[in-house]
């Protein structure tokens, strides 16, 4: 009897344990998200919102050629940023973990990576503008060195500057999880491989990369969701010449077309969810983290 009673209390324990987080998630994520979904079926005339429940907003969004081009553009930004941040993140982490053997140095250099992040996102982003501008530092340098005669316009207010900014802003989100995964790799494993005659490349290919993939996967999720949800960097760094899914949404919100923006938001959530679940399908993060 006492056994069953203790059993029932212990069956309630996990629920009590998750309750605080669950409540916060329901209040801060669940309810707003449900509101957005609800709103996306309603109608608006630019001021008043009518609870009509129809699919018109989705029909508009899905049949508009803008939607496709916006998503393709945003996906392009996300994938290019992902490739660069992954390569840089992996290289940095590799260096920190396998070349810097002294723990104190490791921590010091790791902190060095985070120094730019002590300033605000916006400052870091905007500081590129005077550097890359037509009369900016870099163009002036190139002209004075005689490499070019006309300033390069492509450096600023272009897709180049947007992606550069994304890479700059989000590489740390790659470094941290990869560093974490790599640091967990048992050095004996690498030594054993080397003793067994593996080349450096083989060690990288068959040991380090497979064992770092949790970090890569986590970093990918961070970077992809950050880029997909951005509107500020794309607006400022493209000089307003490029749009992302969210910046188009912002234009609609500004004019009080909330339901239309909501339909777009729901679509974006679905796309991001598909991408994240694809990542999770490739790498089982849960089991890897429990390792």
């Amino acid at each position: 009897m006492s056994g069953s009673s203790s059993g029932s209390s212990s069956s309630a324990t996990p629920y009590l344990q998750v309750a605080p987080l669950a409540l916060i998630m329901i209040a801060m994520v669940g309810i707003p998200l449900a509101t957005v979904v609800l709103l996306s079926f309603w109608e608006s005339d630019g001021i008043l919102i009518y609870p009509t429940y129809n699919l018109q907003n989705y029909i508009d969004v899905l049949t508009s050629p803008v939607t496709l081009s916006l998503f393709l553009k945003t996906l392009k930004f996300a994938s290019i940023t992902l490739i660069f941040t992954a390569v840089i993140g992996f290289t940095c982490s590799y260096f920190l973990v396998f070349h810097v053997r002294n723990l104190r140095w490791q921590i010091a250099l790791f902190l060095l990576c985070t120094i730019p992040f002590w300033t605000s996102n916006i400052i870091r982003m905007v500081s590129w503008i005077p550097f890359l501008g037509r009369e900016g530092l870099f163009n002036t340098l190139l002209i004075e060195a005689g490499i070019i005669s006309q300033p390069l316009d492509v450096l600023l207010f272009s897709d180049f500057s947007v992606i550069l900014t994304y890479i700059h802003l989000y590489t740390l989100f790659m470094i941290v999880p990869i560093f974490n995964s790599m640091a967990k790799i048992n050095p004996n494993l690498i030594e054993a491989a080397r003793d067994a005659g593996a080349s450096s490349f083989q060690i990288l290919r068959y040991i380090i990369i497979p064992l770092s993939k949790t970090g890569l996967a986590l970093g990918t999720i961070f970077v992809v969701t950050l880029v997909m949800g951005d509107f500020f960097a794309v607006r400022v760094m493209s000089g307003g010449q490029s749009a992302s899914v969210v910046s188009a949404m912002k234009n609609e919100i500004d004019q009080l077309y909330y339901p239309q923006a909501s339909a777009m938001a729901v679509l974006l959530v679905i796309v991001v969810l598909i991408m994240v679940s694809a990542v999770l399908r490739i790498v089982d993060i849960r089991s890897e983290l429990a390792r």
Binding site: G46, I47, L48, D60, S64, P65, V66, S69, L70, K73, I129, P130, G133, R134, E135, G136, D153, L156, F157, R235, V236, S238, G239, G240, Q241, S242, A243, S247, A248, N251, E252, D254, Q255, L256, Y257, Q260
Partner: protein, 436 residues
């Protein structure tokens, strides 16, 4: 005792409102009685201190220096809270209680009035209404001709039929939707030093000579107007009404813009004041849509920036102050006091030094020095350095204002900032243009 009286007056006000609902015609009489009760000096003096009015509007109009001066003069508190027009529309519609006095751009008002969250202003209670400049009050130009009705001419949205109406009246009535305050005529900003020749037409914005060195404002409803001015003057397109384009006109405009963008005509589309300043000051752009104070800001860095009036005319805009529906009793009376103070001259002079005009030029001019009056309103060369409201030098003695006198500038408005009937479609197409 006092409390009782206030409570009574509140009840009275509520009664009036109820009566209004019952019978719209009784509104004038009811309101007059109401103000008689509430306006009693004893109550006024003793309760006035506790009143706080929250004025919300764009940063270039709702300025804390102005509200502080008003608070000192009037004995109650006016608090300035800035929100750009789009944010103010959202507040007015979904959180009306957070605003007491809404400082609306007329195009924003055109949308937000329908929400019914603003109450009409009784024109009889605005002392200087009769002194208001005709272009704001009657939609007439200085020579008595009709002002351009392309876009949101303030007069189109200035009047309403009754205290409860959510519609605009076509003709003047006793009820105003808002009280016009400040306005200006916008045009293109130029880097005359980098262009080196005279520019007189909006068409120059799309001149291939300036390829990669032009910018448009990325507020769809305003950007498309600037584009339309340029396209029309190039002879590419002819609009029935630039301020209310048909779908076909929107399509043609956006297609022309996309073509220009693909050809590399634009350097940027700016969204904020400082973006436009930096684009110009850094030489990224030599000709672009711009606000007047942004040109001033570039100039104050010692850079040759001109706010050039064009032969086709200006794009006009204006603001008006609206009273929120929830204001009643003594607070409503205080709001009227504030509105009257606003047109009495101090604010008009303050705003003149930023390059804007007051809806009652007479009182504003009386509060300016002769030199300032000559420079800002009369198009005369400055006899000594011109200072902005904060005492910084804006222009040197001997220079005169770009575009000339008040009448020259405001009398030459070709279209007004607006929101179109096909607004939603236009935003969709604009998004397409920006992402192309």
């Amino acid at each position: 005792m006092n409390k009782k009286k206030t409570a009574k007056s509140h009840a009275g006000a509520a009664g009036i409102t109820r009566r209004n609902v019952l019978k719209g015609g009784a509104a004038v009489a009811g309101a007059a009685v109401g103000s008689g009760v509430i306006g009693m000096p004893v109550i006024w003096a003793q309760n006035i201190k506790d009143i706080t009015l929250n004025q919300v509007g764009p940063s270039y109009s709702v300025i804390s220096d102005i509200t502080e001066k008003a608070s000192a003069d009037l004995g109650f508190k006016v608090v300035a809270q800035t929100a750009e027009t789009v944010a103010l529309m959202a507040k007015t519609v979904s959180q009306p209680q957070t605003v007491d006095i809404a400082d609306f751009e007329f195009w924003g008002l055109q949308k937000a009035w329908r929400s019914g969250n603003l109450q009409p202003i009784e024109i009889a209670k605005i002392k200087n209404w009769s002194k208001m400049t005709p272009i704001m009050r009657d939609g007439k130009n200085f020579d008595g001709s009709d002002a351009s009705r392309q876009g949101t001419l303030p007069f189109k949205v200035l009047h309403t039929d009754s205290m409860d109406s959510k519609e605009f009246a076509a003709e003047a009535t006793d009820y105003a939707t808002v009280m016009p305050t400040i306005y200006n005529a916008d045009t293109l900003g130029l880097r005359s030093d980098l262009i080196g020749r005279e520019i007189t037409s909006w068409a120059e914005l799309f001149n291939p000579e300036f390829q990669g060195k032009t910018a448009l404002v990325n507020i769809p409803s305003i950007g498309i107007m600037d584009a339309a001015m340029a396209l029309e003057s190039r002879g590419d397109l002819k609009y029935g009404d630039k301020g209310n384009m048909t779908r076909e006109e929107i399509d043609k405009t956006v297609e022309a813009l996309i073509e220009l963008k693909k050809a590399g005509q634009f350097r940027a589309f700016w969204s904020t004041f400082d973006e436009s300043v930096n684009l110009m000051a850094a030489g990224e752009v030599v000709i672009q849509s711009m606000w007047s104070p942004a040109v001033t800001a570039v100039k104050s860095r010692g850079i040759d920036c001109v706010y050039q009036g064009m032969t086709e005319g200006y794009r006009g805009w204006g603001l008006g102050m609206g009273l929120m529906r929830h204001l009643e009793g003594i607070k409503l009376e205080a709001a009227y006091e504030y509105l009257n103070w606003y047109l009495s001259g101090w604010q008009g002079a303050f705003i003149a030094r930023q390059g804007y005009y007051s809806s009652v030029p007479e009182t504003a001019k009386a509060n300016l020095t002769e030199n300032e009056r000559g420079y800002w309103y009369e198009g005369k060369p400055a006899t000594e350095d011109i200072l902005d409201p904060y005492g910084n030098t804006m222009d040197k003695a001997g220079n005169s204002r770009d575009g000339g006198s008040f009448e020259d500038r405001i009398g030459n408005i070709a279209c007004w900032n607006t929101v179109m009937d096909e607004d939603r479609y236009m935003i969709q197409r604009w998004n397409e243009f920006v992402s192309s």
